[in-house]
C-alpha cells in the first residue's frame, strides 16, 4: 500500500483523546475524502499525517517510508507531504511566483521558473504570476494555494476543507477543476470535508469520521 496508517491515537490534552485507533490505507493515485462533522478530528488527522503534530501511538507510512512509529518521527519539513490549509495561508508578503517557488528545492533558477509556470498553467492563472495574495479573489487564492502545495511534487497531498471559503457557484467550478487536476497529475490525496456532495464528486473512496473514530468506508463508483 502506498499510504498506510495504522492504529493512530492522538490527544491535544491528556484528558480528551481526539483520534482513536485510526487505520486506513490508500493506493497510489487514489483520492480519499474524510467526511465528518465539525470537531470530529478531521483537521487533526491531516496535521498528524503532515507531521505538524506527533501521534501518541500508531504508525504512518508513505511511499514505503516510515514517517512515524513508536521510535521514529520525521519532522514535517523533511516529509514529502503537501498541504492546503483551510484558509490557504498564502504568504502575504510574497507574490504568486515567490509563493509557488518557496517549496521548490534543488532546482536551478531557470528550472524553478519553468516549474512555477507549469503549475500556473495547470490552474490556468499564468497572468497572475506577479500579483500579491490580497489582489486575488478567494477562488484564485485557493488555486494558488493548491499550486504551491503541488509544486514540490509531494508524495501525498492533503487538503483541509478546500471549498469552505468559496460561495456556492464558485465551489462547483473549482470542485470540477480540482478533480481534473488530481487526475491529470495522478496525485495521491486526502481531503477533508463535511459535505457529502464534495466527497462524492472528487473522491474514489469516502472515510467517515465520527468523534475521532472511523465508523464507515464507502467506495465511489465512477459514474
Amino acid at each position: 500500500m502506498y499510504v498506510n496508517i495504522e492504529s493512530l491515537d492522538f490527544a491535544y490534552t491528556k484528558r480528551n483523546p481526539v483520534l482513536k485507533n485510526i487505520s486506513f490505507s490508500m493506493e497510489e493515485g487514489e483520492v480519499v475524502a474524510i467526511l465528518g462533522s465539525s470537531g470530529s478530528g478531521k483537521s487533526t488527522l491531516l496535521r498528524l499525517v503532515s507531521g505538524l503534530e506527533i501521534p501518541t501511538k500508531g504508525k504512518i507510512e508513505v511511499n514505503a517510508e516510515t514517517l512515524c512509529n513508536a521510535n521514529t518521527f520525521i519532522e514535517c519539513e523533511k516529509r514529502q507531504v503537501g498541504m492546503v490549509f483551510q484558509d490557504y495561508a498564502l504568504f502575504p508578503h510574497m507574490n504568486v511566483f515567490k509563493n509557488i517557488a518557496f517549496g521548490i528545492k534543488n532546482y536551478s533558477k531557470e528550472a524553478k521558473k519553468q516549474r512555477v509556470l507549469e503549475m500556473l498553467k495547470l490552474i490556468n492563472m499564468e497572468e497572475k504570476i506577479y500579483a500579491y495574495p490580497h489582489e486575488l479573489s478567494g477562488g484564485q487564492q485557493q488555486r494558488i494555494a493548491l499550486a504551491r502545495a503541488l509544486a514540490p511534487s509531494p508524495d501525498v497531498l492533503l487538503l483541509d476543507e478546500p471549498f469552505s471559503n468559496l460561495d456556492a457557484d464558485l465551489k462547483l467550478k473549482i470542485r470540477h477543476e480540482l478533480r481534473s487536476i488530481m487526475k491529470m497529475t495522478d496525485m495521491t490525496a486526502i481531503f477533508v470535508t463535511h459535505d457529502y456532495d464534495d466527497a462524492k464528486d472528487i473522491a474514489d473512496r469516502i472515510v467517515y469520521l465520527e468523534n475521532g473514530r472511523i465508523v464507515h468506508e464507502e467506495t465511489i463508483k465512477p459514474d
Binding site: E77, A89, F91, P92
Partner: protein, 544 residues
Amino acid sequence: MLSRLRRNVNIFSVVSVIAAVLIVVPMLNIITEIFSTPTPAWIHIRDNLLRGYIVNTLILVGFVAVFSALLGLFGAYMVTRFEFKGRKLLSWFLILPLAMPSYIAAYAYADMFSYTGTIARFFRRLNLPIIINMMNMEGAIFIFTLTLFPYVYMLTRSALSKQSAAFSENARLLGANKIRTFMRVVLPLLRPALVAGTLLVVLETLNDYGVVAYYNVRVFSFAIFNTWENLGDTQAAIRLSGVLMLLVFAIIFIERMIRGKRQYSIHVKGRPIPRIPLKGWQRFVLPSILWIIMILAFFLPLAQLIYYATLTFTDVFNMGFIFLIINSLTLAITATLLTVIIALMLANYNRGTQNNFKKGLLKITNLGYAIPGAVIAIAVMIFFIDIDHALFPLYRLIDENSPRLVLSSTLIMLTFAFVLRFMAIGYNSIEASYDKVGTKFTEASYSLKASKLKTLLQVDIPMIKHGLISAAIIVFIDVIKELPLTLILRPTNYNTLASEVFRFAREEMLQESAVPALVLIFISSTLIYILTHYKKKEVPINVR
C-alpha cells in the same frame, strides 16, 4: 457653497483645524528664520562643528536603533513563542524600562561606574583591573538601548501574537527548516511592527537632552541647547533645528521605504502559534538573558537610586518637595486631559475618511512626535513671544503697568508644547480603538437624530473607554518624565520632578537627585502596571 460649509462646521472640524494651525504656525517660524542672513555664530558652527554633530547623531541613532531592534525582537520572540518559568512576569516586566527615564538611568550608571561608585569599588575589592567609563558615546548607546528597547518589544510582541500559525506551518510543510521559516516568513511579516518600533526609539533618542548633556555626547539636541543657552544665539539654534528636522524627515522617509507599501493583513483567522516549552540548556540560558536585560535596564539603577534615597531622604523631603510633586502632577494631568480631548476630536473628525484635506490635517497634527523637543521648544517660545508682542496693546488696556511678556511667562506655553508634542501618541491609541469598533454604532446613533455631542458622550466614549484610558496613561507617563520642553519653557522658578532631577545631577548632587527620580519611576511604573493589567490585551503605543 455656504450650506456645504455650514454642514462641515462642527465641533470636531473646528477643533481639528485650530489644532493644525496652532501647530503649523510655530513650525513656519523655524522655516522662515532659516532663510534670513546668517549670523557669525552660525557661520562658525556651520564651518567647524556641524559635520561633527551630524556624524555623532548618526552614530548614536544608528547603533541604538540596531541594538534596541535586536533586544526588542528577542524579548518579544521569547515571550510569545516559548513557555518557561517566569514568562508571564517577564512579558510585562520588559515594558517596565519605559518607566525609567533615560536621563535617570544615565545618572545612576555614570555614578555607579565613577571612581567612588558602587560598581567601581566592587571591582577594586575583587582586585579586578576593570575601569569602565560610561560618560561617552558608548555609554549613551548603552543607556538608550536599555531604556528604549521596550518600544520595539511592545510593537513586535503584539504583531507576533497576532501572526497566524498557518504561515510558519505552511513554510515548514514546504520544506523550510526553522531558520529559513524565521528569515523568510516570520520576520518579513513582522517588519512593519519592527520598523515602527525602531522609529519610535530613534525619535526618542533624537529628542533626548538629559543623557547627551551629562555624557557630553555632541549630538544635535546638545548643540541646539548649547547655542541657545550659552551662546544666546537664537538664530543659529533655529538653523541647527532646521538641519535636524531635515535629518528627521530623511529618517522617516527611509522608514516608509523599508516598511514597504504593501497593505495586507497578517492575521488570517486561525490559531496563534502555540508556545513551545524550552528544553535542556535553553531552559536556563535564554530566560537568564532576559533577566539580565531587566536587571541592567531597570533593577540595578533602581537599587542604586533606592540606596541613595535612603541617604538623602531627610534632606530632600520637605514641604517644597511636596509642592514639586503637586506641580508635576497638575501639569501632567492638565496636559494629558487636553491632549486626549483634542485627540478625540481629531479622531472623530477623521473617522473612516478618505478625504485628502482631512488626512493632511491629521498628518500635520501628528507631526509633533517626530520633532525633537529642543526644536519644538524654540518654535513654541518664539511663537508665544510673537503673540505677546501682538497682544501687548491689549495687555496695556487692561493693566497700565502690564509687562511685555504675559502668556510666555506662564504655564500655558509649556502645556501647549506638551499637547503639540504628544498629540500623535494620544491620537493613535484612540484611533486604534475606533478602528476596532467600526462606525456602525455611531451611524445608528446619528440615524436616531442624536447630535454629534450626544453621540460622542453616550455612544462613542463608552465604547472606546479602554483606548481613551490607555491613551491618557501613555501621554501622562511621557509628560511627567519629559525634560527638554520642561527645561526651556517652564516659567522661572517653576520646578517639576524631572527638572529637579536634572538640576541636582547638573550640580553633581546625584545622591539628592535620587528622591525625585524615585518618585517619577514609582508613578510611571504604577501606571505601566495598570496599563498592562487593567486591559489584559495589547498596549497600543503605535505612532502613526
